[in-house]
């Protein structure tokens, strides 16, 4: 059981790290601001989400696990609203702002 | 080479960089930024001393750590005051420069010039 959980953790954390890689590549390589924003949100949601998922079984106690989930949910909320706001600012000010 | 030494050198370099920016940058806001970097470098020195003083089951000496916490808060209040001063300078003169020449847009006649 222990070994299975460890393997699951390695898989989930690695997948999360992959999404951070993908987000960075997108942020660097995509042609314009809106597509770059799209790449960023993938790293935000899935990258951190998978890392949290991988760490959940390692958490000592329900409270610690709850805090991990809370971190993810807060990052989700921040990511979702911030990308909305940045996108609106870009549309208003053209590509300048 | 321990981690504490690494971060100590990093802090020393930050002090040097911040000092350079504070002297050389003409824009007041950039001076404030540089000064904050300098402060961060000094705080890191405290952190390194604290880390080296790890004892009694603690990861670091709590006294320098507490001083850094106080320092960060004071540095923030100084930054806020300095930024408010620069913004006020901008409101009054339409520019934000520390040059010795009188500001571009005069606003009172005598007394404003030098």
């Amino acid at each position: 059981m222990r070994v299975l959980l460890d393997i699951a953790m390695v898989l989930a954390v690695s997948a999360g790290a992959f999404f951070f890689l993908a987000g960075t590549v997108g942020l660097l390589r995509f042609p314009d601001s809106l597509t770059r924003l799209h790449a960023l949100t993938k790293a935000d949601n899935l990258g951190l989400g998978l890392v949290v998922l991988g760490l959940l079984p390692q958490a000592d106690g329900y409270l610690a696990a709850l805090k991990l989930v809370a971190v993810w949910l807060l990052a989700q909320l921040a990511g979702a609203t911030v990308s909305q706001m940045i996108a609106r600012t870009m549309r208003r000010g053209g590509q300048r702002a | 080479m321990t981690a504490a030494t690494l971060y100590g050198l990093c802090g020393a370099a930050l002090v040097g960089l911040g000092l350079y920016g504070t002297i050389v940058h003409p824009q007041p806001l950039r001076k404030i930024l540089s000064f904050n970097l300098l402060g961060a470098g000094v705080f890191l020195q405290f952190g390194v001393i604290a880390r080296r003083g790890a004892a009694a089951g603690m990861g670091g000496d709590p006294v320098p750590q507490a001083m850094v916490i106080t320092g960060i808060v004071v540095a923030f209040s100084a930054t806020a005051l300095a930024v408010a001063l620069v913004l006020r300078l901008f409101q009054e003169t339409g520019g934000a420069t520390l040059g010795t020449d009188p500001p571009a847009r005069q606003y009172g006649g005598e007394g404003a010039g030098r």
Partner: protein
């Protein structure tokens, strides 16, 4: 252990790169964003130096609140950049500055590379009295018991800085409300964030304050979180910034230092003198002081970010 050391080396290098960018960047806004990133990385450095209390403070104040002040200022000063940047100092002065900075760096690096041996430490002395105070977190014990006069004076410094900021207002606005936060347009996403986040933030703030007695956390960090939540509500346009002449604003500002001072003066009745706590009652007193301090810190930090009053007082 080498993996951790590689991480440390990479992190130190990264911090330096971002710092060089912050100094050397062309547009001020780019430098300010660099500084926000710098604050975040610095929080990680503090974690690596086993100073999680400091990391929390840096994350909340160094990166979050300072970043907000600087970003707003950079946007306001955008027009002054070009004329101001033209006033570059002469090559001689710059060269002299480089020499000075290299000398300072070399001196500090020498101190780092050849430290005192054995390293001086007050950790055992701090640990001895922890059971008496019933406070598990040594940093909190230093801040509110061993060196509490520092913390008290620091609150006074914060108040003085706020008085300094306020005194920059033109006479006609004295007693009015700060204006820097008024949103240009209502943004649905921002309003949603302003409604959802603050209740969670208040819970987290209270938690950080409470846990500060036994684990990293405490009044400063909690105060900064609460201040950020308050600012968010004001930026989202859900609440106006308060008029600085209001009695409750003034009361909240001085409540923390006043309670601290009152407890300190009561210490004269004890053998220890100023700022000593009666045996057995240290922990409740410390928590009570911290709770009031947190409120005062939150209001002071929020008003420092909000800036001087820019609207006339409503009669």
């Amino acid at each position: 252990m080498s993996v951790a050391l590689a991480l440390d080396a990479g992190l130190a290098l990264l911090v330096l790169c971002v710092a060089v960018w912050t100094i050397g960047a062309g547009p001020t806004f780019a430098a300010v964003v660099g500084f926000v990133a710098f604050g975040l990385l610095l929080a990680l450095v503090w974690v690596r130096l086993a100073a999680v209390d400091v990391a929390l403070t840096e994350a909340a104040i160094g990166s979050g609140v300072t970043g907000a002040v600087l970003i707003a200022a950079a946007a306001r000063l955008r027009l002054t950049e070009a004329p101001s940047a033209a006033e570059r100092p002469s090559a001689t002065l710059r060269l002299a500055a480089v020499v000075l900075c290299v000398l300072v760096f070399a001196g500090l690096a020498g101190l780092v590379l050849y430290p005192a041996n054995p390293a001086p430490t007050l950790a055992p002395a701090a640990a001895v009295h922890l059971p008496e105070l019933d406070v598990g977190n040594a940093v909190t014990a230093v801040l509110l018991a061993y060196r509490s006069v520092d913390t008290l004076l620091e609150k006074v410094v914060l108040l003085l800085a706020l008085v300094g900021v306020w005194s920059l207002a033109p006479d006609r606005f004295w007693g009015g409300a700060p204006g820097i936060l008024r949103p240009a347009r209502t943004d649905g996403a921002l309003v949603l964030l302003g409604r959802l986040l603050p209740p969670i933030g208040i819970v987290v703030g209270v938690y950080i304050l409470w846990v500060g007695a036994i684990a990293p956390g405490g009044a400063f960090q909690a105060g900064a979180i609460l201040a950020a939540m308050w600012l968010l509500v004001m930026i989202a346009g859900l609440r106006d910034p308060p008029e600085i002449g209001h009695r409750w604003v003034r009361l909240l500002l001085v409540a923390g230092p006043a309670v601290f001072l009152a407890v300190g003066l009561a210490g004269f009745a004890l053998p220890g003198g100023f700022l000593s706590y009666p045996a057995g009652h240290a922990k409740p007193l410390i928590i009570a002081i911290e709770a009031v301090l947190t409120l005062s810190i939150a209001v002071i930090l929020g008003l420092l970010v909000a800036g001087p009053p820019e609207r006339e007082r409503r009669r």
